[in-house]
Symmetry: D2
Amino acid sequence: MQFTSDNAAAVHPAVWKAMMAADAPDAPYDNDALSRRLDGAFSALFGRECAVLWTATGTAANCLALASLVQPHGAAVCHREAHIEMDEAGAPGFFLHGAKLLLADGASAKVTPQTLAAVVDIIRDDVHQVQPHAISITQASEYGCVYRPDEVAAIAAFAKTRGLGLHMDGARFANAAAHLGCTPAEAAGDVDVLSFGFVKNGGMSAEAIVFFDVEAARAIRYRRKRAGHLQSKGRFMAAQILAMLENDLWLDNARAANAAAAEIAAAAPGRLLHPVEANEVFLTCTAAEREALRGAGFAFYDWGADAARLVTSWDARAEHVGPLAKAIASL
Amino acid sequence: MQFTSDNAAAVHPAVWKAMMAADAPDAPYDNDALSRRLDGAFSALFGRECAVLWTATGTAANCLALASLVQPHGAAVCHREAHIEMDEAGAPGFFLHGAKLLLADGASAKVTPQTLAAVVDIIRDDVHQVQPHAISITQASEYGCVYRPDEVAAIAAFAKTRGLGLHMDGARFANAAAHLGCTPAEAAGDVDVLSFGFVKNGGMSAEAIVFFDVEAARAIRYRRKRAGHLQSKGRFMAAQILAMLENDLWLDNARAANAAAAEIAAAAPGRLLHPVEANEVFLTCTAAEREALRGAGFAFYDWGADAARLVTSWDARAEHVGPLAKAIASL
Amino acid sequence: MQFTSDNAAAVHPAVWKAMMAADAPDAPYDNDALSRRLDGAFSALFGRECAVLWTATGTAANCLALASLVQPHGAAVCHREAHIEMDEAGAPGFFLHGAKLLLADGASAKVTPQTLAAVVDIIRDDVHQVQPHAISITQASEYGCVYRPDEVAAIAAFAKTRGLGLHMDGARFANAAAHLGCTPAEAAGDVDVLSFGFVKNGGMSAEAIVFFDVEAARAIRYRRKRAGHLQSKGRFMAAQILAMLENDLWLDNARAANAAAAEIAAAAPGRLLHPVEANEVFLTCTAAEREALRGAGFAFYDWGADAARLVTSWDARAEHVGPLAKAIASL
Amino acid sequence: MQFTSDNAAAVHPAVWKAMMAADAPDAPYDNDALSRRLDGAFSALFGRECAVLWTATGTAANCLALASLVQPHGAAVCHREAHIEMDEAGAPGFFLHGAKLLLADGASAKVTPQTLAAVVDIIRDDVHQVQPHAISITQASEYGCVYRPDEVAAIAAFAKTRGLGLHMDGARFANAAAHLGCTPAEAAGDVDVLSFGFVKNGGMSAEAIVFFDVEAARAIRYRRKRAGHLQSKGRFMAAQILAMLENDLWLDNARAANAAAAEIAAAAPGRLLHPVEANEVFLTCTAAEREALRGAGFAFYDWGADAARLVTSWDARAEHVGPLAKAIASL
């Protein structure tokens, strides 16, 4: 009974169906009919003009997005536990040609204008110090917490006053939007570019980079190819994404994962290390308790010496979640 | 009736079947059971120890392979019409951190020890000139011609005497092996690393980097992740490749594509610009003749002002190939 | 009697004097009084607003200049024998983060709008091919030939129509200006940025990057520091350059070198491989003839199997030049 | 009366003398007689075989040194206030092609095996996390404190057990050696490569990279040229360094600077934020006190809101130092 991560979950049947339906040969790369529908689909979803590029991973999506905002001699500011800092093998340094990541603090891996200012405002504007060019926030955060629209707005306003671009790592954007119950545009706010994740949420191998500054997407098309991320059978990438958007499947899947997480969280509210607002649950949990849970057949990652991280997927099964909640409650 | 390229052809049913069979959640990245079978599968195929990494594109495969051989301050030597020079948007410069490509000549995009020496041996070994670190050959070449085992051996020997690594871009390796009728090991020869292509040959989105120097693969695992090419649902990548290897489907598909190309070539041997040894046919063809063919419903790319390039795919249909051959014969 | 190159000649006394006069401590980096005078000095020299950065080598000057014009995913177009292609150890690939150099032809290493178009206009504007972002011309060229103002104007016009930036590698700009007898502004023409060489012309270790687009210099200040080229005792760099500008010492030195080259050229006009318009003389010369010259005490480089390259410096000595001219005449 | 930094101090007369004596033309780059003496000079100084490269700045020296130890996909571990992290404009990211800097703690900017282990040992060896490849320590540290030989030995032993290279940023190595009163070899310890600083200590524009692993220097020769740091009139670079080594001028200059710092420190031992072991003095000092000192004609940098940083140079003048010490004592 897997609660290790949502990053290797099964693929939703609608996605399989769409991929197979796309099998008939079409133009290569992103010139096929399905890829050509993406801009319109996301523009409709966000109620504003978007330029959309698919890529195979969130790492590539994040880094190509940041490449539109950060010059090689600059830096991106992110939370010190941001995925781009912790778990992307230095991908930002690669894609951004050596640009730095400047690390900010914040509870539950959420930065605020204050924590950003603490990093940004102490940098002298001279050539000796790397200047920030953009901010990157993760929605939902690496601890499964969600930025409210007013929080994103405050960060966007801060970014504007400091002349910085704003990127949103939305590996779990769906879960954030599901939690907020608002429109996607409200969940994203006034960011320049969003890495809209689908793989964790029922897709197979396609994520979307959504540029709200459509001009900025132009150079990134070259850089995507240059990074080996322009697949020739691109219709299968677009098919996955369009299937996820259809009938708001992305939102339904996220709601399901969130609900499962909420059920687990409700079992032991006193153990929660962070509010459960998406599909991740961080619990204080001794080594012995973790062993007991594993002995009962539940798989999950330790989080340091005395905590556990549980992640629910779009296909969370009631016959797994219920027992887990019970088992935690009775620890 | 599509003869533009094999890079956007349909996906073979066995590949779909294998991907769907892999749907049950497994470990993420390349820790799943299928990915773990790759080393053994290719070791058996080549009759020698291999370390294998999947990636989504031939561009990524080529560049990550070259990264194991070329330092940033060095260069790779390739044919001046090599895909890595002409059509990868500068990807080698990106992945190799600014290393150069030194261009050699050769008929039908095949280099020889002589044409390589003409480039390599004039370089002074001093710090002012970029030193070659490796050679990259494309098997089958960009003009659909195949290196015979003795030709690869001569290049490998040359590489050894000059202290250079040797990479084989095998986007159409299957077609080459099918043409040669020899073992894969004989078709690859004594190269250090092979980009073994599957996408053009019936796969969907997975290529393999086959390291014959298994130690060299170690650093490239980090670089693959760093380049955003370590997909989390890696089992679907491995599933495609294993399905292609099973029962030599890769070879059957390539034979089919080659046979279709041979049929077309036989229709107008006097028009051939290059020997047809794989699945590409380059024909002299006036603008008017090309218009006539297009008028008859055949799609293909112009090749300069007075030639056409026809590419056959694994799923070449007799009811398309026959008429095309006839149409060309009667031009 | 050295005619190998002008790149290791002595330093002019006025430059020594200026460096020693600058010894009193001043602000570090480029905040000292002398560095602060550079913009004004070059603005006066060119009759237009300039932003000027010093660097220690022409390689750094060229690459930092190009960095203001070429994005990592783009390319610079230059002559196939351009110094940046042949003798900078791949520095453009390093500083430009993997951007390519696209090579054009032209007699005496001078490109023309036609030879540039032959390279630029065949590039499809799609993501598979690296797009040119700038042109780089060398004034005087690598064969010691000079672009006339109308030639530079034609290239600048071509660049404008194609949306490309224009860089001038002026390692021997002084020699070109001396040859043309026109103003520096006329010798440079409508380029965006000029690497103005001083080291070969009597300086010690300082070259100037002259930005005619002063805004473009801003980002390059960061990149200069980032490349380890912002020396802390920058006043000594500025001192060299200002000494070279004072009383047009740069022009006098170049005239002297040019005159010496002209004297040598006049000795054997029939042997000249290229017009002698600066301070380099390329002569057909058999191996035996070269041996004879060396036996007479003249040092120079072979240029291929049957030619010699002679370079005169600012401090060319009549008692060396005369005998060399005689010796060549009597071969 | 300047105590802002030692990085823009005057040049020692012996250095001027040596540069002028080197004026006669010689082979270019580092092929001249003086440059060819460097390996031997440093080998004698350190009592072991060295390969030495000059560069114009400490930034270039540090980064080229690290390039011999750190692969692009790796990281260097340094103190969080290390110069390479704080004040080199992201140069490590540039020269190391995107490698990261992992930051460790330690009093007075000195790391220890414990603080290094706290960073290094928590990194999982998998492809998601950037792996450390080397450690960089600054001797004397950024707070003017010196690693004793046993401290360097402990770090070197730690590096060996973890398979990491070890670099020493010796911008003020002379001051450290002067303080320790031991041999240079003892002051450097078992590091792989040392950036031996001379500019701050009486030189003009030359620093030395001293490779104790002489094979490692080979690739760096290419990278130095590639980075635009191979000056053509290299004899002037070597001349500076040889002049500094002659008769231990480097040590005398450092002793003078250290003595001046010690004199200042002795004036107010209660104010010292860090032990004064080199030529930097960090004092608690209110804004009003700093204003008073400035009013008395002393120039220095603030260090945060309530401290000052005073730096003494090789040419510290008694008639400046004495009054400063007095002024501080009477605050």
